[in-house]
């Protein structure tokens, strides 16, 4: 057959495309369960990091998570939803695009003996791409017990410090209150010098103002949505 004829060319293209497509579809489906398990475990480890458990091995992290953490899914009125969706499966970035009344708010409750903490997920934008994280509150619903953050593409050495340098940019949050002395919600902000309000500020990352601003915004906005729920817990 003539290699340059149209019929040959088109037939060749069609057959090759079908073979490659079938092969890749088979590969994707067979690896999917493993990939899903990896994603879930990675989220679980991020959540555990927010309550200070950041040095667990994978198997142990899965066990500790199952023992101590309970996922809760809230609707926009901060009531527990009846649908049986797993809190880990909720993608905050996608929820943010839904109409208000359809949004779901995942939350995690950490219990170890007497110790109870609530872990709130956060999602926002850094300089280059998405940033996200988890912030844990003590059971006074006001004091930050821990925070963990991650990013897709922040600059190494600058914005990426929110993940790479927990000592300077995660640890200082611990123990700070998200309410000021008047009982007003102020969250905790990254600010250069952190001098004018040290109780509610930590020192920002030099050279990464936009990442710092992104962190401030996501912490403020995402904590704010959960405040009615915490208020409810407090009064009950």
């Amino acid at each position: 057959m003539d290699r340059e004829s149209n019929v040959y060319t088109v037939t060749y293209a069609v057959i090759m495309t079908v073979i490659v497509a079938v092969a890749l579809a088979f590969l994707a489906t067979s690896l999917q369960p493993r990939q899903y398990a990896n994603e879930q475990l990675s989220t679980k480890m991020d959540i555990l990091k927010a309550v200070g458990l950041d040095d667990l091995e994978k198997e142990e992290a899965a066990r500790v998570y199952d023992e101590r953490i309970e996922g809760i899914v809230l609707n926009v009125d901060m009531e527990m939803t009846s649908d049986t969706v797993n809190a880990l499966d909720i993608d905050l970035a996608k929820e943010g695009k839904k109409p208000m009344e359809e949004r779901r708010y995942p939350l995690w409750k950490y219990t170890e003996g007497e110790d109870v903490r609530y872990i709130v997920p956060m999602s926002g934008s850094g300089l280059w791409d998405r940033i996200w994280g988890y912030v844990a509150l003590e059971d006074d619903y006001a004091t930050i017990a821990g925070i963990s953050m991650d990013h897709k593409a922040e600059t190494p050495g600058l914005g990426a410090e929110i993940k790479d340098n927990p000592e300077d940019y995660n640890a200082p949050y611990v123990g700070k209150s998200i309410y000021n002395d008047e009982g007003e919600f102020v969250a905790v902000k990254m600010k250069k010098g952190s001098k004018d309000d040290p109780d509610h500020q930590i020192d920002a990352i030099t050279g990464a103002t936009i990442t710092s601003d992104g962190v401030n915004e996501m912490l403020y906005e995402d904590l704010k949505s959960y405040l009615p729920y915490f208020k409810k817990l407090k009064t009950s």
Binding site: E4, Y12, A13, M16, V20, L27, N38, E39, P156
Partner: protein
């Protein structure tokens, strides 16, 4: 290019076959001599570990796409040969990416989009066009391994300097003490440009024949 001519000496590991493997290290290095694949060399080399994985992925894709195209070379319609080459590369890259996601999730997260971007790595397509379309499968496979490794070696060399000077670490282990203040510039992509430039300078100073090649 001289190497489009058939390179086969009849035996499995003859002199010509060995040259296919060793040339890309030295006088025909894809990055420093052919100046291909620079973009990914800038992007992933801020640490050694992702660079190593990237290098392995490129060796794999380069070797097997060369092999596949060489096997198909007599049947590929001339007018769509580039599309066929790209489909083969894309399929192999997807295989690598999905496997990483399933078996090495941490590295998958670290490399993020760059594994997918192997598809656009000009080294691979360049080798398919220049070599695999005109040579037998075994020679093509070796050429792919050689070029992939040639690329990987430069990647690791760049990553070594960037990680060491940028963070004082090698493969994530802290070598320099607290006194060392990491050079953030080394972690930013332009540093790869400086280092590749220095490597090219060094190589051409040693072998002046290369000076007019590109």
């Amino acid at each position: 290019m001289a190497d489009t001519a058939t390179a086969s000496s009849g035996t499995l590991m003859g002199k010509k076959e060995r040259r296919l493997l060793t040339d890309p290290f030295n006088d025909n290095n894809p990055i420093t001599v052919q100046v291909l694949g620079i973009c990914s060399a800038l992007a992933v080399t801020s640490a050694l570990k992702p660079s190593l994985v990237m290098a392995i992925a490129v060796v794999f894709v380069c070797a097997f796409s060369n092999l596949a195209i060489s096997l198909l070379r007599k049947g590929i319609p001339g007018r769509i040969r580039m599309i066929v080459q790209l489909t083969v590369i894309a399929a192999l890259v997807t295989l690598v990416e999905q496997s990483l996601k399933a078996f090495q999730y941490d590295l998958y997260k670290q490399l993020s989009v760059y594994v997918g971007l192997i598809i656009t790595n000009c080294i691979i397509m360049g080798r398919l066009e220049a070599f695999a379309m005109g040579n037998k499968p075994w020679q093509s496979f070796l050429d792919g391994v050689g070029n992939g490794v040639g690329y990987g070696v430069i990647l690791l060399a760049v990553a070594f300097f960037r990680e060491f000077l940028g963070k004082g670490q090698i493969f994530g282990y802290q070598l320099l003490g607290e006194w060392y203040v990491g050079n953030a510039l080394m972690l930013a992509p332009p540093a790869a440009m400086f280092i590749i430039g220095l490597i090219i300078w060094f190589q051409r100073a040693r072998n002046t024949e290369l000076v007019d090649v590109s």
